[in-house]
Amino acid sequence: MAESKYLTEHYGKPEYCTLDGYKKLGGYQVLEKALKMQPQQIIDEVKASGLRGRGGAGFATGVKWGFLPNNGEPRYLLCNADESEPGTFKDRLMMERAPHQLIEGMIISAFAIKAKKAYIYIRGEYTGPAAILEKAIAEAKAAGYLGKNILGSGFDLDLDLYIGAGAYICGEETGMISSLEGLKGQPKLKPPFPAVQGYLRKPTIVNNVETLAAVTYIIRDGAAGYRKYGTEKSAGTKLFSISGNVNKPGTYEVPLGYKLMDLINIECGGMKPGRKLKAVVPGGSSAPVITAEECERATLDYECLAQMGTMLGSGAIIVIDDSNCMVDVLSTITHFYHHESCGQCTPCREGTGWMEKIVHGIVHGEGKPGDIDLLLKIADQMKGRTICALSDAAALPVLSFVTKFRDEFEYFIREKKSKVRGGQIYAQMHA
């Protein structure tokens, strides 16, 4: 098996990001087809396709749509483009190369769930993609794909772009809703879930960019057509963002179930010369790290990675070679979560800072013998204790790094220097 250009088929063509170019390459034809279907048919098709959320949690999209209550209240469709999990940059590529692909997917999805108002919530740092999307939305409006009575179907949809201020937590769906409502970007207590009471306390569906884009392809090719890619439980293709010590980092689309080592060795051109694979963080920085040996067995689907105690997440694969000190890597990760904790729930607010201080201490040669066990205890108590998953996201890398690379941590604490890079101090390493 090799790379499958399915969603990304035309990404190499610059004209694909304009309305004309997109239409010439078959764009908005699926929308015409979809608008002639019954909304429920679309939902059923998406359910049958086995499409799972591409943002990180991997929840079945059709099932999520099915949670909307039939109470006559207005519904909202929100596109989560706050791509903030460290290591992830696939949504950025999609929005830059194919803004209309997302818009078409959103119109079809909004039609399916009967939403008349949709937003794309994009992270503040994505100024480039935001400008491209603004232009694309204006084009689509002018062409009658958005607004009143779309293509004579009687369906109305208003789509707006909302630019966030750049907080990791606004990528969490209820944090995003708070932010969109003009409040501080903090996740909301669940229940109620967004499908029941979301944006403005109305039924709301939040989907990732890639998820919404995939809907168009499911309607075009049917559930069976979509299922040609991927495995039984992880259907379809997925865009993976590969960063780290490989020869050709970047975004690659492969069918789910693809071998991790194939992706590294074939698509990404293998490891840098003379270096050896040490570890991979497979699903964004919050996913537990797996060792080189585990990588040999890993396939890129939800089940295999879950079985290995980690997750597919957003598909952000961070490849770490043997020149890296795992204590350094964890120090960067703990700093990130400390910086991004919204501060609402106590275990996360206090725990993220505590863990960072401990790891930071080790990196600066101030580690204490009990630090490793303390880190494990703190992380363990942060897991599953908070409103949203940020606490888990901060705890899981600590647990996995410390457990799987304990010798590096012990060495650092004992010798006051890195097992990998020796006495060089952290700041020099990253200067």
């Binding site: 907080a167 937590i169 501080k184 207590l189 229940p191 400390h338 910086h339 991004e340 904790s341 919204c342 501060g343 609402q344 729930c345 106590t346 275990p347 607010r349 206090e350 725990g351 993220t352 800072g353 505590w354 201080k357 401990i358 201490g361 204490k368 009990g370 303390l374 205890k377 108590q381 599953g384 204790r385 908070t386 409103i387």
Partner: protein, 519 residues
């Protein structure tokens, strides 16, 4: 009703009850900080963890609704471990300044630590530094380092006072409570945020550093600051009263009280009180006990008829009104009884939450008593009678809270036209001290020192009991009448607090009573 099992005990709760409410209703301890029955659910402190049978993940009790047959446990090893760690997370950046913290002795962190913690902290890293002594407004000070960000105060200003002054600024462990530029915490209910603050982050400017709480006793009574009659607890020792806090009563004040009501105690303390009776006659001025002074007045009043007038304010109890009105009608022989209303223009006012324009605890009781005795005299009749001299002796009772009678000095000047003035009040005042002619000042007992009934604006009768004695020898109106008659006083024993059946239904049905204030 639903059946559920709490720590192995089967109980029944109403549909829609959350697990934490079920625990409270059944008087089972459960750790928590952010949950407050008078506020929305925040679910952020993560202390009220419970184990629900069939759910591998611990759940928070405050945001989980009880379902039929649910089996809940907060005593399992898993829950205890989670609560212990929950406390540790709260404490790692919390300063260890209990010895100089006003909250010490009634602190949520101290209490929960003694109940659920009792471990040695493993935090060896530097603590997070935050702002100290932040002046939030005229009555409240913030210490951000002590704050555990439970957001109760923010929710209070959002949901109860609806003034939205407070917010949480910054994020993560740098987050701090604060006010917006130029918008201080200045609402009329601001000290409630201090009450509901589970730690020493918010302190009342009035109370801070004045007394350690363990040196104070407390007793329940009724606030006399307006006609709402909030149920309150007063905190006192031998030196006097130090503070007032609201006590939950679903039918009167809910969980809250206003800031001005908290000042009522100041009128009760010795420094603002009339300490003994004074009889002025021309240039002669004589100090004596209240009883002696009243006895002398009584000798002159008996049978004096319509040359005597009586002015009453709404500060006294139903029982006192009854005693003095029947004395004046039958033994003095006058029906010239006048009702002194404070600030008539705002008398009917109401701020929409608790505070009423009628700044008397018992206006309704006075009106009812006057109606019962067929007393209908109007204020302008008094003005006329004083200028024509048809009233020569005037007896005035009150007001007890002089600050809320803006016309006090004007009225003193007006009423001093009477040949003989007998003024009974608990508070000292320069206006009264400067009176010339024939004047008798009689010190009265404050609401803290007597028993009786107040009828609030809705007609609800609420009982008060003596809490402590502050001015020895001061009299209640009932005792004044006894002295008028020349009879001996019966020693009244001070028994603090009120019994359950005196408190009334709303209080007893309080599902969330804890030992201390509104916790």
């Amino acid at each position: 009703m639903l059946k559920c099992t709490l720590n192995g005990r089967e109980v029944e709760v109403k549909e829609g009850t959350t697990i934490i409410e079920a625990f409270y209703q059944n008087k089972i301890d459960i750790a928590h900080y952010c949950w407050h029955p008078g506020l929305s659910i925040a679910g952020v402190c993560r202390l009220c963890m419970v184990e629900i049978e069939g759910n591998p993940r611990l759940q928070i009790a405050c945001n989980t609704v009880v379902t039929e047959g649910m089996k809940v446990n907060n005593q399992s090893a898993k829950v205890k471990e989670a609560v212990k760690w929950g406390l540790d997370f709260h404490l790692i950046n919390h300063p260890l300044d209990c010895p100089i913290c006003d909250q010490a002795g009634e602190c949520g962190l101290q209490d929960q630590y003694m109940k659920y913690g009792q471990y040695d902290s493993e935090m060896a890293e530097a603590k997070q530094k935050k702002h100290k002594v932040v002046d939030l407004g005229p009555r409240v000070v913030l210490d951000s380092e002590r704050c555990i960000l439970c957001s109760r105060c923010v929710r209070f200003t959002d949901e109860v006072s609806k003034t939205n002054e407070l917010g949480i600024f910054n994020r993560g462990d740098r987050a701090e409570i604060g006010t917006f530029n130029g918008k201080p915490l200045a609402n009329k209910y601001s000290i409630n945020t201090v009450d509901i603050c589970p730690v020493g982050a918010l302190t009342s400017k009035d109370f801070r550093f004045r007394q350690r709480v363990w040196f104070l006793k407390d007793a329940e009574t009724v606030c006399t600051g307006c006609s709402t009659g909030c149920n309150v607890k007063v905190y006192y020792n031998r030196e006097g009263l130090f503070r007032v806090k609201p006590v939950y009563n679903s039918e009167v004040n809910g969980h809250w009280m206003c800031d001005e009501g908290r000042d009522v105690y100041k009128f009760v303390n010795k420094e603002s009180r009339l300490l003994d009776a004074r009889v002025v006659s021309g240039v002669k001025s004589e100090h004596m006990t209240a009883f002696e002074a009243a006895k002398r007045v009584g000798e002159k009043l008996k049978g004096a008829g319509k040359t005597v007038g009586l002015v009453l304010t709404g500060s006294y109890t139903v029982e006192e009104y009854e005693a003095i009105l029947s004395y004046f009608k039958t033994e003095v022989g006058t029906d010239r009884v006048f009702h002194w209303i404070n600030n008539p223009e705002s008398f009917e006012g109401f701020d929409g939450l608790l505070l009423r324009g009628d700044r008397n605890p018992n206006t309704r009781g006075l009106v009812q008593a006057m109606q019962k005795h067929g007393l209908t005299a109007q204020w302008k009749e008094l003005t006329e009678a004083l200028s024509t001299g048809s009233i020569q002796t005037l007896v005035v009772a009150g007001p007890e809270n002089q600050v809320w009678f803006p016309d006090f000095k004007v009225k003193v000047a007006e009423l001093s036209k009477a040949t003989r003035l007998i003024w009974m009040t608990s508070g000292k005042s320069s206006a009264l001290d400067e009176l010339k002619g024939e004047v008798t000042l009689i010190p009265m007992k404050s609401y803290i020192e007597k028993s009786g009934t107040f009828v609030n604006h809705t007609g609800r009768a609420q009982t008060i009991r003596p809490v402590t004695s502050i001015v020895k020898g001061a009299l209640s109106l009932t005792e004044v009448v006894t002295a008028f008659r020349g009879e001996a006083l019966q020693g009244s024993e001070v028994v603090p607090g009120r019994s359950e059946n005196e408190v009334g239904r709303g209080r007893i049905h309080n599902e969330f009573t804890l030992s201390r204030g509104t916790w």
